[in-house]
């Protein structure tokens, strides 16, 4: 197992969002998170990534194996495509960005400044960062936003080869990526109810 979650409860700000959630991610598997807007997919991914501390439960994973990609791509408008990616390659201590550029069909845009990219090109560059991170567990929050159908296929291909090399991914998405064998987890049943709160300010004796 790359990542095991047991009886997790997470919160966003003062709000408990999810409770009693357990899941597992094995090498070579994709777990797709489903649920309506505001059901806590982003919160769950940020908690798994270690950005938000969980309220309860345990997450078992090597934190050095996780990389997270959120709604924002973390691109710098004033840097070129290559410079943006080279920065992340050196942060993660990996070498060579050409394979990542090629995988997302960005080689021709190498020296273009990120501010002159289209939304879809920016997204592809943001996703190319996953490849240079060299990490096994990908936590992806709506990765296909602003990608066209053809590039969704390209992205699905990248995921497939990532799985082939023993990686895994947890993806919050609404669209069908066309991956053959995916696990799907609907998180709406784990939504925290008002009675789940351990908030000391909700004690009736305070009234």
């Amino acid at each position: 197992m790359l990542l095991t979650v047991d009886n997790l409860a997470c919160r966003r700000g003062d709000l408990h969002v999810l409770t009693g959630l357990s899941l597992g991610l094995a090498a070579g598997r994709v777990l797709v998170l489903r649920g309506p807007n505001g059901s806590g997919k982003t919160t769950l991914l940020r908690t798994l990534a270690g950005l938000t501390p969980p309220v309860g439960g345990t997450i078992t994973a090597d934190p050095e194996a996780i990389t997270y990609s959120g709604h924002a791509d973390g691109l710098k408008a004033q840097l070129s495509v290559a410079e943006n990616l080279e920065f992340w390659a050196s942060v993660f201590g990996t070498l060579g960005i050409d394979a990542a550029l090629a995988a997302f069909d960005l080689l021709g845009l190498r020296d273009r400044q990120a501010q002159n990219l289209s939304a879809g090109q920016k997204r592809r560059l943001g996703l190319a960062r996953l490849l240079v991170s060299g990490r096994k567990i990908w936590l992806l929050d709506e990765p296909t936003v602003s990608l066209d159908a053809q590039n969704v296929q390209v992205f699905a291909g990248v995921i497939k080869s990532h799985l082939m090399t023993g990686g895994g991914a947890i993806i919050a998405t609404h669209i069908d990526l066309g991956l053959a064998d995916t696990d799907v987890l609907d998180i709406s049943p784990f939504r925290a109810k008002s009675t789940d709160h351990n908030n000391p300010f909700l004690d009736e004796a305070l009234a």
Binding site: R46, A49, G50, L51, T52, P53, E64, I66, T67, Y68, S69, G70, H71, A72, D73, G74, L75, K76, Q78, L79, E83, E86, F87, W88, S90, V91, F92, G93, R129, S133
Partner: protein, 218 residues
């Protein structure tokens, strides 16, 4: 980490306004002093050390919110926090990049602006040295304030209110280092305490600012 330093410096230079803006602001502050209090060289030379220090300090304040705000907005900070780099190191590198692009140019410019204010002979070197020793503390304390206010939509004014009181010891010992020399006194104590405050700030800010960033990112 060096990559982060290089990236931040490249961004400041390419973004425009970052690096030249503080110097221009510094010049304007220095220029306004004679407008405000008169151009008698005897008056100016008495207040010159303090004006240079306050001018540099205010110019430093201008670009503080850039240290983390842009990275917070475009998601880079999330990615850096989940990267192999320790967040403390990220803070230190970003504060260092701020110093190299703001504090250091201000330090280099200050002796020249000293001419405009008839800074007394012999105080030029100490103006330079005191700013060289003191401006790192300004950048690092600024990074702490920027880390605290990074999640706020309009944090700029609050950032100044939080950071300026923290600048008081640095300003006092920095300006005293120069003033005492201008008066012909021995300034060794003031300068050594200034350097000590600077080193102390460099030591504690990465940890406290990283703590604040973690709170703001969750």
């Amino acid at each position: 980490m060096i990559a982060l330093l290089r990236r931040d410096m490249a961004l400041t230079f390419r973004m425009g306004g970052g690096f030249g803006l503080s110097l221009a602001f510094f010049l304007i502050v220095v220029m306004f002093v004679p407008f405000g209090i008169g151009a008698e060289s005897s008056t100016l030379s008495i207040i010159a050390p303090g004006v240079l220090w306050i001018g540099a300090l205010l110019a430093c304040l201008l670009s503080l919110d850039r240290i983390f705000q842009l990275d917070f907005e475009d998601g880079s900070l999330d990615l850096l926090a989940t990267s192999p780099l320790p967040l403390e190191g990220v803070v230190a590198m970003k504060a260092l990049a701020h110093w190299l692009t703001t504090g250091l140019p201000l330090t280099l410019a200050a002796p020249f602006f000293g001419f405009l204010l008839h800074l007394p002979q012999g105080a030029y070197l100490w103006t330079f040295l005191s700013l060289l020793a003191g401006t790192p503390a300004l950048s690092f304390l600024g990074a702490f304030g920027a880390a605290i206010t990074v999640g706020l939509k309009r944090g700029g004014l609050l950032l100044s209110l939080l950071v300026l009181p923290l600048y008081i010891p640095t300003l006092i010992f920095g300006a005293q280092t120069v003033t005492m020399i201008a008066k012909g006194q021995n300034n060794t104590t003031a300068f050594l305490i200034l350097a000590a405050i600077s080193l102390f700030t460099l030591a504690i800010v990465p940890f406290s600012a990283a703590m604040a960033l973690r709170i703001n990112l969750r």
